[in-house]
């Protein structure tokens, strides 16, 4: 286990403050009925059957911790001394912290909770308190946080190479032109690529397909290039709220000054963060749309025509940040159904009950084995449908699910939704494009 807690009874315990939580969140800890419905659904608990990591256990542990710090029976109080209550140990707090981070923040627990506890907001607020007390994030997750603060991306890549993918893609003729640089030009739409799409060569085709589709639809769009910064999702999920707010404010200021009408992103994590979490930090003077939503609008307005058949049997994985966190379930399905030739089948668990891929919330960095198992479980769901292609709408899910496909050597191919749209739009894959265009040019 990567995050094993070392027992040290002597180290003085630091206070885990509750001021970072709201009154409602403290009430939520008392509102948990301990019915255990969450334990039937939690993807992490499904793979690691320990009570403290399921949402009920996590709420119970934190409630116990704060009662020990502030309650009537706190060890240094009159009643605590009378009843011989022992103070909580450093080891216990570290164990609670380790269990708190064994969570992909998928929000499934909120949807099955009979009391509708806003679980993920609660976990993030608790994580913030652990971070401030110096107990979080886990060692294996600290690199992500440090990297975002130092490089504006979680992958330890230099800022100057953020837009490298556009230059390489142009050179390889995978895109016609480099997208407009919004640092120098104006456009109606900004395509916010996100860190994973920008830096990970394995998923760069998400960005390349998106750019090609937007160009094809003659959308007036641009990107921020090297000036694009991480949305800060990693910081927020890890509990570093202060750093998140700083980066969010900088991004909001930058976006607002661009004079854009719409921000489009193909990363569900960025989408959720900008749409839902930025709204709590500052006002924004533009609409925020996920690529799937924006492409559906383009189709409806006649700017995109999906005329080529794509003969595939596909199933769709709802990214947690797009679905359960942001309520976007229909647009990706509408998009898939508008592609001629596609046979679309749902997995047994879909929409608000979609099983998580395990990649979010720091779980992949903190507990890669658990994430791998969660991913394999989701791949099994997809295989059970008889589909040959597993489609999603998030580069992070793409990465996360690819882990499971490789581990299982599964007979299913991972695709981003933009890839299928591009195929239907042009009749060829994005990789086929340069050759085909080269031939056309030669003719």
């Amino acid at each position: 286990m990567e995050n094993e807690v070392k027992i040290d009874q002597e180290t003085p315990v630091r206070e885990v403050k509750v001021e970072n939580l709201s009154m409602r969140q403290l009430l939520e800890l008392d509102a948990c009925t301990r019915c255990g419905e969450c334990s039937n659904w939690c993807p992490a608990y499904e793979q690691d059957k320990r009570e403290p990591i399921n949402p009920r256990g996590r709420a119970y542990d934190f409630r116990r911790l704060i009662r020990r710090q502030y309650g009537l029976l706190r060890p240094d109080g009159f009643l605590g001394k009378l009843f011989g209550k022992k103070p909580i140990t450093e080891a216990e707090i570290k164990r609670i912290a380790a269990d708190l981070y064994e969570c992909s923040t998928c929000r499934q627990c909120h949807f099955v909770c009979p009391v509708s506890i806003d679980t993920v907001e609660l976990w993030e607020a608790i994580r913030r308190s652990f971070v401030e007390a110096g107990y979080g994030p886990l060692d294996s997750q600290k690199d992500l946080v440090t990297s975002v603060k130092s490089y504006d991306n979680p992958w330890r890549q230099p800022r100057s190479s953020r837009a490298r993918w556009t230059r390489v893609a142009k050179k390889k003729k995978r895109i016609k032109e480099e997208p407009k640089d919004l640092g120098k030009n104006k456009a109606e739409v900004i395509y916010f690529v996100g860190c994973t799409g920008s830096y990970d060569v394995n998923v760069e085709e998400v960005a390349i397909n998106t750019v090609n589709i937007l160009e094809h639809s003659q959308t007036d769009f641009g990107i921020l290039g090297n000036k694009e910064k991480c949305c800060g999702s990693v910081l927020l999920r890890m509990g570093d709220r202060e750093s998140f707010e700083t980066i969010a404010q900088e991004n909001i200021k930058q976006f607002n000054e661009l004079g854009i009408k719409t921000l489009v992103t193909s990363c569900s994590g960025c989408f959720k963060t900008i749409k839902e979490d930025y709204a709590k930090v500052g006002g924004m003077n533009f609409d925020i749309k996920h690529t799937a939503e924006y492409l559906v609008e383009l189709i409806k307005s006649g700017k995109l025509e999906l005329k080529h058949e794509v003969k595939m049997k596909v199933t769709y994985h709802d990214p947690c940040h797009l679905g359960r966190h942001s309520g976007v379930y229909d647009a990706p399905r509408e998009l898939l159904r508008s592609i001629p030739g596609i046979e679309f089948v749902e997995m047994e668990r879909s929409r608000e009950f979609s099983r998580c891929c395990g990649a979010g919330g720091g779980l992949k960095a903190g507990y890669p084995d658990i994430q791998n198992k969660i991913s394999q479980q989701r791949i099994s769901d997809a295989i059970a449908t008889g589909a040959t292609e597993l489609v999603s709408a998030c580069p992070f899910c793409y990465q996360g699910l690819q882990v499971g496909i490789q581990a299982m050597n599964a007979p299913i191919t991972m695709r981003d939704i933009t890839e299928l749209v591009y195929r239907s739009l042009t009749g060829k894959t994005e990789q086929e494009r340069p050759a085909a265009e080269g031939e056309a040019e030669a003719e």
Binding site: M23, L26, L27, D30, A31, T33, S39, S116
Partner: protein, 268 residues
């Protein structure tokens, strides 16, 4: 009134009730003080009264959200919640009649001396039966079938055992009261108590002083109430608040998004 051997409150009962409420309100104060330590923003959207009313009816009173996962769990929780609330209301109503209104008032005379007492009998029987039925299901799920999703800690057991003592001692007390007034035409209104009485008679259990069981019933109820803010049962107060806040936030957010979309369309 004495003809029916109803229990009459004594000074000791009043003192114990007072102490119970001291503990209860002290617990509520301590718990809410802890909540008030939270300084982050609780609500982000405009309050939606229709959403609150709907959630209160559908999710707090009827608890229909539980049915989609398990019908038997819904029956169990609905019976315990409504049964307990019904009995609490009955106790409050009786206390109001006995201690607030003058004995000469028409309401007091109706409920304590005339036909109204039969309403109280039926009221207690119906809600008491619901509570007992719910508790039996809870006991079976938790301790006999050991349903996998349940993780039993001391607080769960304490709550169930106390409620069980309250429920069963109430019916036993009623059975012994009914055994003391055989042949009364009103027995049928205490139909479950009557069933208990018949079982006791058939089993040859002698009639004991029913007041002992009333005291057991009362003391268990007082202990239960005093422990509410410190026990699992506190969720009966906290959960409904969370349910209606969540419903209001979701509706408020939805309305703001609709308004923003409208603004966006008109802007373009």
């Amino acid at each position: 009134m004495k003809h029916y051997l109803y229990f009459e409150a004594t000074a000791l009962l009043y003192i114990l009730t007072f102490v119970t409420f001291i503990f209860f309100f002290a617990g509520v104060f301590v718990t809410i003080s802890l909540w008030r330590r939270g300084k982050a923003k609780s609500l982000y959207h405009s309050v939606s009264t229709p959403a609150i009313i709907k959630a209160f009816i559908v999710n707090v009173v009827l608890q229909l959200q539980i049915i989609k996962f398990s019908f038997i769990r819904w029956v169990m929780h609905f019976c315990i919640f409504i049964g307990f609330m019904g009995l609490l209301a009955l106790t409050a109503w009786e206390a109001f009649l006995a201690d607030i209104l003058p004995a000469s008032s028409a309401l007091v005379r109706l409920f304590f001396n005339n036909g109204g007492r039969l309403i109280l009998d039926v009221w207690g029987e119906v809600f008491g039966t619901m509570l007992l039925a719910g508790l039996i299901i809870a006991l079976l799920r938790r301790y006999v079938f050991r349903v996998a999703q349940l993780d039993t800690i001391l607080k769960d057991t304490v709550s169930i055992v106390l409620l069980l003592i309250i429920s069963v001692s109430g019916f036993i007390a009623e059975a012994f009261r009914l055994m003391a007034i055989p042949g009364s035409p009103d027995l049928i209104y205490s139909f479950v108590g009557l069933l208990f009485a018949k079982v006791f008679a058939a089993a040859g259990i002698p009639m004991l002083n029913y007041k002992l069981f009333v005291w057991l019933h009362g003391l268990a109820a007082m202990l239960f109430i005093a422990l509410i803010p410190f026990s699992k049962m506190w969720h009966a107060f906290a959960s409904p608040i969370e349910i209606i806040l969540d419903a209001s936030e979701k509706q408020g957010k939805h309305e703001e998004e609709v308004a923003a979309a409208h603004y966006s369309v008109s802007r373009s």
